[in-house]
Amino acid sequence: MAQETPLSFDQIPGTYVFDGRRSRMGYPLNKMSAALNSPAERQAFQSDPEAFMERFGLTEEQREAVRTRDWLSMIKHGGNIYFAYKIGVMDGLTVQQVLAAMTGTSAEEFKEMMSNGGRQPNG
């Protein structure tokens, strides 16, 4: 009888499983985002984002992703959504608005998709 190969993280479509590879890559970006739990650091980010990113040693790709609020690029460069969203909080965005932008749809379309039962498995 053929043995089934166990499912691996890389076989899950449209999903960037946050494992050791991504946590190592994303460490400066996520460390910067974690600092945003403090009101003083939130102010520091807002007054000079470039200096703030420099302080945490983000890679150029990560900086560009933050500058352009390219959420999918943040994820691809090791950002974790719970941390990246702290940047969205300062922009006054809801999680849903961030997810809509991440998937290239409008906030209204994303909301409608969720209200209609969400993105179905294999859909």
Partner: protein, 292 residues
């Protein structure tokens, strides 16, 4: 002796609090939301003294500087954390450090190496279920023991490991000499995904299977691998393994009462289930019969 009076599985998405409030005040007429408030009332009727709340931190108290697989609070009180919005206006949570240390002293020698936190701020993963179950009182009517699980950075503990930790916690609670009534709350889920092109993933078939098996076939849910959880429940829905810690703490034989399932609450499927040890139900029935 301590008694485990209730086990609850409940979502912890922040939007659940406002959604339940809207249903209670008639602003939202979705009848399915009522299950959450009903479970809160039911829990209060079981008169718990202490809640063990199994949740995950979302970058509030733990960053990737330090990721404990299992971390237990052992403080006299816990503050609600600033997650980027400022500290939420909630009363601080009274702890039960004696019981925390009893759990630590019981389960670590058994091989469950908990990280011990004598100071811990708790985020929405903890606070949302508390608000849904108790509203926002001036002071919380129960003591709490937070148990934070890493469900964010892989490798996270397997579903099987979570279930076994729950069983060890159950043994610890049952061996506690003080007469306290303990409820165990597993938080998180249900299916959802907050990243990648698959963001918005919802899997009602899996959620319904999970809700139906958590009481009477938890082994089947414990046997699924981490990739299977992520594939089925979504990258963030995989946090459902925390319900298995709650389930493990109860007896093998349980009776389920209320349960509910709603799509969507913000970007997630949300669920709730309440259960009790079958032996406690029988004891309560016997007392009621004798009292008649």
């Amino acid at each position: 002796m301590a008694e485990i009076v209730a086990g609850i599985g409940i979502s912890h998405v922040p939007a659940l609090g406002p959604a339940v409030d809207a249903a209670a005040t008639g602003k939202d007429t979705n009848p399915l939301m009522k299950a959450f408030t009903d479970v809160g009332s039911w829990l209060s009727e079981t008169k718990p003294d202490v809640l063990v709340v199994i949740y995950n931190d979302h970058g509030a108290s733990f960053s990737f500087d330090l990721v404990p697989t299992f971390a237990i609070g052992a403080a006299e009180s816990y503050l609600p954390a600033d997650e980027g919005f400022g500290r939420p206006p909630l009363p601080e949570y009274p702890g039960d450090a004696d019981l925390s240390w009893h759990i630590i002293d019981s389960v670590v020698p058994e091989g469950f190496d908990l990280t011990v936190c004598q100071s811990l701020d708790v985020d929405h993963g903890f606070s949302t279920p508390m608000k849904v179950l108790f509203g926002t009182p001036e002071a919380w009517p129960v003591k709490v023991i937070p148990l934070a699980v890493n469900v964010v950075q892989q490798p996270t503990p397997s579903a099987q490991r979570c279930y076994e930790l729950g069983r060890a916690i159950g043994r610890a609670l049952r061996s506690y000499p003080k007469d306290v009534r303990v409820a165990v709350i597993g938080t998180g889920g249900m299916s959802h995904q907050l990243q990648g092109e698959r963001a918005g993933h919802i899997n009602p078939d899996f959620d319904r299977r999970f809700l139906s098996e958590i009481a009477n076939s938890p082994e089947s849910l414990a046997s699924l691998s981490n990739p299977e959880y992520i594939n089925l429940a979504g990258s963030e829905g995989a946090e459902l393994v925390m319900w298995l810690i709650m389930r493990g703490a109860l007896d093998d034989d349980v009776e389920t009462g209320l349960s509910g399932y709603v799509i969507p609450v913000a970007n997630t499927a949300a669920g709730v289930v309440a259960m009790q040890n079958a032996a406690s139900v029988k004891k309560a029935d016997a007392l009621q019969t004798a009292g008649r």
